[in-house]
């Protein structure tokens, strides 16, 4: 039971990150490595704010915007300075490592005693039997909120234009809009979600760790592709929902691998191999054409 709860907790926390990757990888069709830096950025900002006594919810919101800034920087490097997308992401990711340390103060910062969204007076009043669902009780509404917000956004005028970036970039130009600016917007949104995910993880695990972001991109990608592939036949399910479920399935696979005796140290290797297998199974490897957003 605790294992199952753990899978759902982790799956939901990383689902927020996977939604960000869905924006870059599927909607923009742009591989963004910034996320390996913006995930711990969210964590660092959130931990620093909580130590400074800022409200945990407000800390999450500010962390989101820290990620937005990171995404904008990657976007400007890529779009305005003309550096290739992967390299732009790597540059910002590398720079963020130092920035994160500067924000957090050192490479490992605990917030064990602090009040967080998962650890506060309100939740302490829960009946004893509910206590183990405490984290899920907080996470589910947050993830649903993110999903609905993203879904709604994709159906706005701005969202429609964003969706056309990966679909037919040329068309945006003929709509008299600069596709580059839309890419920056998409990168900003995506990294905002990734940083938010990092901030939620920091509050749940109660610490910041400089290497928290390693492998974020690969992990997120695996979740996105698992979700979209596994639920491809279910036309009525929205893509963000598929991505969220994909994240949970991914965490379940990893948990199963560990239960089968693979050491936690080989986690990254498992992820890498898993991603390769998924990419090989799905014939294009790349983009599943987005058919429906509702």
């Amino acid at each position: 039971m605790t294992i199952l709860i753990g899978i759902f907790e982790q799956g939901l926390i990383y689902a927020v990150m996977a939604l960000g990757l869905y924006i870059t990888y599927v909607i923009l069709d742009l591989p963004d490595l910034t996320v390996d830096g913006s995930f711990p950025l969210g964590s660092a900002v959130c931990v620093a704010l909580i130590i400074a006594g800022v409200n945990p919810v407000l800390s999450l919101i500010i962390s989101f915007f820290a990620g937005v800034v990171a995404g904008i920087i990657t976007g400007i490097i890529h779009v305005k300075l003309g550096i290739r997308d992967l390299i732009s992401g790597i540059i910002v990711m590398t720079g963020l490592y130092t920035i994160n340390l500067l924000i957090a103060g050192k490479s490992n910062v605990p917030i064990f005693e602090a009040t967080t969204i998962f650890n506060n007076d309100l939740l302490k009043q829960l009946p004893e039997s509910f206590k183990q669902y405490r984290v899920l009780l907080v996470l589910i509404p947050i993830v649903i909120l993110c999903k609905i917000a993203l879904n709604r956004y994709l159906h706005t005028k701005s969202g429609l234009l964003l969706r056309s970036v990966g679909d037919n970039q040329n068309l945006i130009t003929t709509m008299a809009k600069d596709p580059g600016n839309m890419k920056i917007l998409g990168l900003a949104l995506a990294n905002g979600l990734v940083a938010l995910s990092g901030a939620i993880l920091a509050q749940q695990q109660r610490f910041f760790e400089a290497s928290q972001g390693t492998g974020t991109m690969v992990m997120g990608l695996a979740s996105v592709i698992i979700g979209i592939r596994l639920f491809a036949k279910i036309k009525l399910m929205s893509f963000p929902m598929k991505v969220i479920l994909g994240s949970i399935v991914y965490k379940a696979i990893v948990a199963a691998a560990i239960a089968l005796g693979l050491s936690a140290n080989s986690l990254k290797l498992i992820t890498a191999i898993l991603l390769l297998i998924i990419l090989l199974i799905s014939e294009h490897g790349k983009k599943e054409k987005v058919q429906q957003y509702d």
């Binding site: 159906h155 005028k157 679909d167 709509m175 008299a176 600069d178 987005v290």
Partner: protein, 259 residues
């Protein structure tokens, strides 16, 4: 009035692939004119359209639209007043979106891209009316994904999308070339109707000599970045297929190969 003045353009200068396509190229198209453009492969037709649309920049010379020098204007800014349909039907639509979403996208050109709903249900009737005119039954396919449409259907949608908002210039680059004859005919008729109705200044590159003669009020023939033949109103209407074929024949002897 659209003017190309003293244009020089060379691709890949200073390399083995150096290719000077335009040298002191001049062309002016008065407002409301419908010009058809023919010419052998590689004669610079697409390059000329790309220069006008800002997809490529001239090395020298000016591009002027209604007295405004737009040589250095960004590509997307030029499309505020222009629409373009490409040869590839996939180029003018978003394949993963529904027809309704595609039309809504095009309908919002030059308006605010804000956080209001993308699809305005009150416009559906207007879209359906436009689609009915095409005669392909598209009005019943509003909720279908455009990626599943045939080439002719997609090109019809692309044409409607390019012209759904008020524009002044329409740029067509062999937009019927990838279609079967029947679909090409449908698209060509629709094109002519829209141009007439909206009084669009039009440049239409076509491989179809019949279309080049039948439609429009001016015809130019290009070869190696130069205009070999330029026939207006009266003169154009007297042109016959044989004139064009003879001209093509001359060129092909000159360059020593068949067209």
């Amino acid at each position: 009035m659209l003017k190309l003045e003293n244009i020089n353009k060379c691709y890949n200068p200073g390399t083995v692939n150096e290719n000077t396509i335009f040298q002191d190229f001049n062309l002016s198209i008065p407002s409301g004119q419908f010009m058809t453009i023919i010419g052998s492969n590689g004669s610079g037709k697409t390059s000329m359209l790309n220069l006008i649309c800002g997809n490529i920049k001239p090395d020298q010379g000016k591009i002027v639209m209604d007295e405004e020098n737009m040589t250095n204007m960004s590509e997307h800014a030029r499309y505020k007043r222009m629409g373009r349909v490409f040869q590839d039907p996939a180029a003018g639509t978003c394949p993963s979106m529904t027809l309704l979403e595609n039309l809504s996208l095009a309908d919002n050109k030059n308006k605010a891209w804000n956080l209001t709903k993308a699809v305005n249900n009150q416009r559906i009737e207007f879209y359906q009316e436009k689609l009915k005119r095409v005669g392909l039954g598209l009005e019943n396919k509003l909720d279908e994904i455009v990626g599943s449409f045939s080439g002719g259907e997609r090109q019809a949608v692309a044409l409607l999308m390019a012209t759904i908002t008020p524009i002044d210039y329409l740029i067509l680059d062999e937009h019927t070339a990838a279609l079967d004859p029947k679909a090409a005919e449908t698209i060509m008729q629709l094109t002519a109707e829209i141009i007439e109705e909206q009084n669009l200044t039009t440049l239409m590159v076509t491989h179809n000599l019949k279309y080049a003669l039948e439609y429009g009020d001016r015809l130019i023939m290009m070869h190696k970045g130069e205009i070999l033949l330029d026939a207006f109103d009266q003169e154009k209407s007297q042109l016959i297929l044989n004139d064009l074929l003879n001209k093509f024949f001359e060129i092909s002897i000159e360059v020593g190969n068949a067209i």
